[in-house]
């Protein structure tokens, strides 16, 4: 589904990704772990099409298409979803309105008609129920005054409604206490399907106690230094990232 080939990228002339190779198939969950400043979030942003990064070399193919040639909204409408590390506030716009616009944009892209407010409400309630959530947060303005846990729950609820082919979770565990972490990761687990690929980006192993990945990659200084099974995460937890950062330095 996703194939990243020798990806190099710069921010303000500094090379932050130095040749990433990564392939994720449908139904797989991959985790990218790494220390601060290793390029984890850069990778997530480049996948979603954020401006401010210059890809100097390499390619990303998504479902056979050149992802880098698509605008952020095109990527989203083709099934790329980014759960943000820092979800953004949109004052005055309720979560319901926001999500309905997004949902209808996707339908329009697929050549389907828009759903009206009532149909959409039913759909959202059904999705929320499946995740054991209620839809109360969608009645409030998007992320305005939300706690850390509410923000991340909101991201996961959006993901459930938009049903992406590829979900990138950028440090979804940051800012969460143990209970919130459990709620969010349980929801993510419910969204694992044979058709969906997930890329979980995290600093800490603890998220992977809840979301069990098929593959773990260690990213340090802009390059994947090692890949392995879930046992690699535990090894990192025990020994830290020092070995990888020193090797690169």
């Amino acid at each position: 589904m996703l194939k990243i080939d020798s990806l190099h990228a710069e921010v303000d002339g500094v090379e932050v990704l130095q040749g990433i190779d990564l392939e994720i198939d449908a139904g797989e969950v991959h985790a990218i772990m790494g220390p601060n400043g290793s390029g984890k979030s850069t990778l997530a942003h480049i996948l979603a099409g954020r401006e401010g990064y210059e890809v100097t070399h390499g390619s990303i193919s998504f479902r056979g298409r050149d992802l880098l040639d698509m605008s952020p909204d095109e990527r989203a409408n083709n099934g790329v979803f980014l759960a943000f590390q820092y979800p953004v506030e949109i004052p005055g716009v309720t979560g319901m309105t926001f999500l309905k616009e997004a949902y209808n944009a996707r339908r329009a892209h697929a050549g389907e008609g828009e759903v009206d407010a009532m149909q959409f409400l039913k759909l959202v309630r059904a999705r929320a129920r499946e995740l054991g959530m209620n839809d109360d947060i969608l009645k409030r303005a998007v992320n305005v005054g939300f706690s850390g846990g509410e923000k991340k729950r909101n991201e996961v609820l959006q993901m459930a409604v938009l049903e992406p082919a590829l979900a990138v979770l950028d440090e979804t565990d940051s800012g969460l206490d143990i209970d919130a972490l459990k709620v969010v990761s349980d929801s993510v687990n419910r969204l694992r399907t044979p058709e969906r690929a997930m890329l979980v980006i995290t600093h800490y192993q603890r998220l992977l106690n809840h979301i069990s990945p098929d593959r773990v990659h260690v990213l340090a200084n802009g390059k994947i230094r090692r890949s392995g099974g879930r046992e690699l995460a535990l090894e990192l937890e025990a020994n830290g990232y020092a070995a990888y950062t020193e090797r690169a330095a």
Binding site: D73, E74, V88, I90, L99, A102
Partner: protein, 485 residues
């Protein structure tokens, strides 16, 4: 990124044709000769079959206007207007004012249908809205007139009211905005051609939204409409006006006067969705919208609220105001003003507190994009007798891009120590983070801006009558097309 460049091109292509009301109707028009003189005023008065007192009133205003000079204090710039190069009267050529819609020129009906303003009553929103349609200088149709008349509500063109209700008109016309109030109100008083008149009798809650739809069609024509609304004791009325004009390269002048009178316990809700042609991306053409709107809360516990969504016009110069005369009277001003490309807006309100325990609320949302300039100018004045007066003002400005401007100019004058006046102001930009977040969820750049701006304006939008809120929301999106890239 190439995809972004492509989006920008698409947006630019859309922007060029985004003003969908820019068509011209092919209607045979009777025009007064160009220029302004006492003879022209006599011509207008004659065409309108006005009584002698009305002509005298106009001439007095004209003579006063001649002694005045155009105001220059607003933060707007435009080449000087040649008042002798305008037509002051333009009317679709029909025999008589039509008595029923069957007699209205079908081309006119088509024009209003194209604008989305159905004049055939059966097509109107199940009887919740009555419409008066003003085309250039005359009112062409008023719907539901008979039904409203049964309840005692007068809703008719002001030219008709001058003939049929001279006592009411004489008593109130110019009582809120005197002829010599300002340059444009004096000009309007001399040459106004049509507009709406509303009288709501004692104790009646008018069950329909009353609405006037203004359309400028003829070339080189000024539109000078005059609206007078009187809410008698204990009555309520909600009134909405909408405006459009054809896309023309030269500027057109629109100088309206609106007067509202609320007696004891009466309430008037006045909403405007203004979408005059704003000119092209380079600032060519567009309407000069120089308008004086003022309401007098004459009675105890009376209320007047102005809600406006201003997206059109090349220049907007407009300060809907409230004179809070009656004790416990309440004034409100809710405004969204959007300027894009080369548009300029200098708009705000005046709240003059005279009575005891009078209260006013001002919520202003200014949005600038392109090279546009947007100024909020507001006066809150507490007179010595206004014991316990309260005002709350909130002015928020939103900038899109880095070539536009937003300015807030509040004037606060308090002459009573018991008064309480609050002013809050913010200026913000649509952040890249917000745009990226919306686009990551699948919204196009334009839809993202529309959504964010609508959220920013929410407090004002919720004051609009339901029937028009959806339309206004769309309008906000349309008027900001081409503002991102």
């Amino acid at each position: 990124m190439s995809a972004t460049a492509e989006t920008v091109e698409q947006v630019a292509a859309q922007a060029a044709e985004r003003y969908k009301y820019g068509f011209v109707s092919d209607v045979e028009t009777e025009l007064a000769p160009k220029g302004l003189s006492e003879d022209i005023i006599r011509f207008i008065s004659l065409r309108k079959e006005e009584p002698e007192w009305m002509l005298e009133w106009r001439l007095k205003a004209y003579r006063h206007w001649l002694t005045m000079s155009e105001p220059t204090w607003a933060k707007v710039g435009y080449p000087s207007i040649d008042y002798q190069d305008l037509h002051y009267y333009a009317a679709p050529r029909t025999r008589e004012r039509p008595n029923s819609l069957e007699e209205v020129d079908p081309e006119l009906l088509r024009t209003y249908e194209k604008l989305g303003i159905p004049l055939r009553e059966q097509e109107l929103l199940a009887g919740v809205v009555a419409v008066d349609a003003v085309f250039d200088s005359v009112s062409v149709a008023t719907t539901y007139k008979a039904k409203l008349a049964e309840m005692g509500v007068v809703f008719c063109p002001i030219s008709e009211a001058i003939r049929d209700y001279p006592e009411l008109v004489r008593k109130h016309l110019g009582s809120v905005v005197p002829q010599g109030d300002n340059y444009f109100s004096a000009l309007n008083s001399a040459v106004f051609t049509d507009g709406s008149f509303v009288y709501v009798p004692k104790g009646l809650r008018c069950p329909m939204e009353l609405s006037t739809y203004f359309r400028i069609n003829a070339e080189n024509t000024g539109q000078f409409e005059r609206t007078l609304i009187i809410a008698d004791e204990g009555s309520y009325v909600s009134y909405l006006e909408g405006c459009t004009a054809p896309q023309r390269d030269e500027n057109q002048l629109h100088a309206a006067v609106v007067e509202l009178v609320a007696l004891d316990d009466a309430e008037i809700k006045y909403s405007t969705v203004q979408n005059w042609y704003p000119g092209d991306e380079n600032g060519k053409g567009g309407i000069y919208n120089f308008v004086t709107k003022r309401g007098a809360c004459r009675g105890r516990n009376s209320r007047i609220s102005w809600t406006q969504v201003e997206t059109g016009s090349a220049i907007t110069w407009k300060y809907p105001s409230c004179l809070l005369i009656g004790d416990n009277s309440v004034g409100a001003f809710y405004s969204v003003a959007i300027t894009n490309n080369a548009q300029q807006a200098d708009t705000g309100t005046k709240m003059i507190h005279l009575g005891r325990n009078t209260r006013s609320t001002i919520i202003s949302k200014g949005i600038s994009a392109g090279r546009a300039d947007n100024t909020y100018r507001g006066l809150v004045k507490i007179m010595p007798g206004a014991q316990g007066a309260r005002n709350f003002t909130q002015c928020d400005s939103l900038l899109i891009g880095n070539r536009c401007g937003a300015h807030t100019v509040p004037y606060i004058e308090s002459r009573n120590p018991s008064a309480w006046v609050e002013h809050e102001a913010t200026t913000s930009k649509i952040s890249e983070d917000q745009m990226f977040y919306c686009m990551q969820r699948g919204l196009s750049a334009e839809d993202a801006v529309g959504l964010i701006v609508n959220g920013f304006c929410k407090e004002v939008m919720k004051e609009l009558p339901m029937e028009f809120a959806v339309e206004a929301q769309k309008l906000i999106g349309i008027s900001l097309e081409g503002s991102v890239g």
